[in-house]
């Protein structure tokens, strides 16, 4: 192939690759911002952060609600296989849409918080499922060692590092 033609084709490919790289860079920054906003909501115990992959024990631990309370709400027996199903699978199991199930759980958690005085909410305290607030047995059963300490340091750096605001994602959109 002619050397000049090779030069032109490579130049065009380089321009395309540069465009793709810039696009990926913007996407990465936006993903980082989304993460920071979502993590903020999660830290404050916002029930809008409940996701279809979560299991009942995970929700109970994360939102400080007794497992038995959620079990009662969802009519779940003590069967481990059912108990540890993600919400999406659980919804299929009980023949309900997953969004409806999540909605019910969100209301139940909010009701529980409203009616129970002195319930510890996330606002103003450390986040629970993250390393900051693994209190009690978890902190030492799972988290002892160098690796979780490194994760802790990295987590702090990631959450508190400033990222230039390319886009502002409204809170309503985040919740949606």
């Amino acid at each position: 192939m002619n050397a000049r033609l090779k030069l032109v084709i490579t130049g065009i490919l380089l321009c395309l690759a540069l465009g793709l790289t810039v696009f990926c860079a913007v996407q990465t920054v936006q993903a980082f911002q989304r993460f920071q906003q979502e993590h903020k909501l999660a830290v404050t115990g916002d029930v809008s952060t409940i996701r279809p992959w979560m299991t009942v024990p995970f929700i109970a631990h994360f939102y400080h609600v007794p497992e038995s309370y959620l079990d009662q709400l969802l009519h779940i027996t003590n069967d481990r296989a059912v108990h540890h199903l993600p919400l999406r699978e659980l919804a299929a199991h009980v023949n309900r849409p997953v969004d409806g199930l999540i909605h019910d759980i969100q209301h139940a958690i909010l009701n529980y918080r409203k009616h129970r005085t002195g319930v510890r909410t996330r606002a103003g305290t450390s986040p629970a499922p993250t390393l900051y607030a693994l209190r009690g047995p978890h902190r030492y059963r799972v988290g002892a060692g160098l690796a979780p300490a490194l994760a802790h340091t990295f987590a702090r750096a990631m959450v508190h590092s400033p990222v230039p605001a390319l886009v502002n994602i409204p809170a309503e959109r985040m919740r949606a």
């Binding site: 790289t21 993590h39 999660a42 996701r51 992959w53 994360f62 799972v142 690796a147």
Partner: protein, 232 residues
């Protein structure tokens, strides 16, 4: 989140470590499973106490290394034979120059280790292809294993610790990892193309200079009024 990922998480919750080992092994051989996301989720569940983080790390590394080794073996057994056949066939000779094949083998022997290492955690999508390529290019297995284990340690620890640290936000962390991986891939392509462009530009410049020199030599006798004494 895809239904497929939820199903994988469901299997992981129900069957525990063996299911996780099999999933990671299959992904390491080359099947496109979202294993980084599964590891992030496993880390999140480990923070809850459902899994043990150390055991998860060991299982992840062992399954990945076993799967990568199988990919390497497939490449070595069938890939190298295929490459040899292509090397000697008419079709291969038509499209591939023998010296370019030898050059690529030499290049992989020199730099292949880094490709193996970085494709374990930085550009994980290329992992399966790199395993096959390493086997096909007859890259020494002991070096392959060394770079593979080193890369897989990072490849297991990064998602597990991030999942462990961020719990419920692991999906957002997965997004960051995915886009960052694409960004690195884009940067590598840009660097490669930039180097090629410089080489081609130099080649064009050299060709121009040679052409100008030739032209000046051809024009030189016409311009000189006297012939050199030796020719008289």
């Amino acid at each position: 989140m895809s239904v497929f990922l939820t199903s994988l998480l469901n299997i992981m919750q129900n069957y525990g470590y063996p299911a996780l080992w099999v999933s990671i092994f299959i992904a390491a051989v080359g099947l496109p499973l979202p294993i980084a996301l599964v590891l992030l989720a496993a880390g999140a569940f480990a923070a809850l106490g459902d899994f043990n983080l150390v055991l998860l790390t060991l299982i992840s590394i062992s399954a990945s290394v076993a799967g990568d080794s199988l990919g390497y073996a497939i490449g070595r057994l069938w890939g190298s034979k295929g490459a040899d056949w292509l090397d000697h066939s008419k079709l291969g000779k038509r499209f591939l120059k023998p010296d370019s094949v030898a050059r690529s083998r030499l290049y992989f022997k020199k730099r292949g280790g880094w490709a193996i290492f970085f494709s374990r955690f930085l550009v994980a999508a290329l992992g399966g292809v790199v395993n096959l390529l390493a086997g096909t290019e007859l890259y020494p297995y002991r070096y392959f294993l060394l770079f593979d284990i080193a890369g897989e340690v990072l490849g297991a620890l990064i998602p597990l610790l991030l999942g462990f640290a961020f719990g419920a936000s692991w999906e957002a962390v997965g997004d960051i990892l995915g886009t960052f991986s694409l960004l690195v891939l884009g940067l590598l392509i840009v660097i490669y193309l930039f180097i090629r462009l410089l080489r081609y530009a130099r080649g064009v410049q050299k060709a121009r200079a040679t052409a100008a020199y030739k032209a000046s030599i051809l024009e030189a006798p016409l311009q000189s009024p006297e012939a050199p004494p030796s020719q008289v």
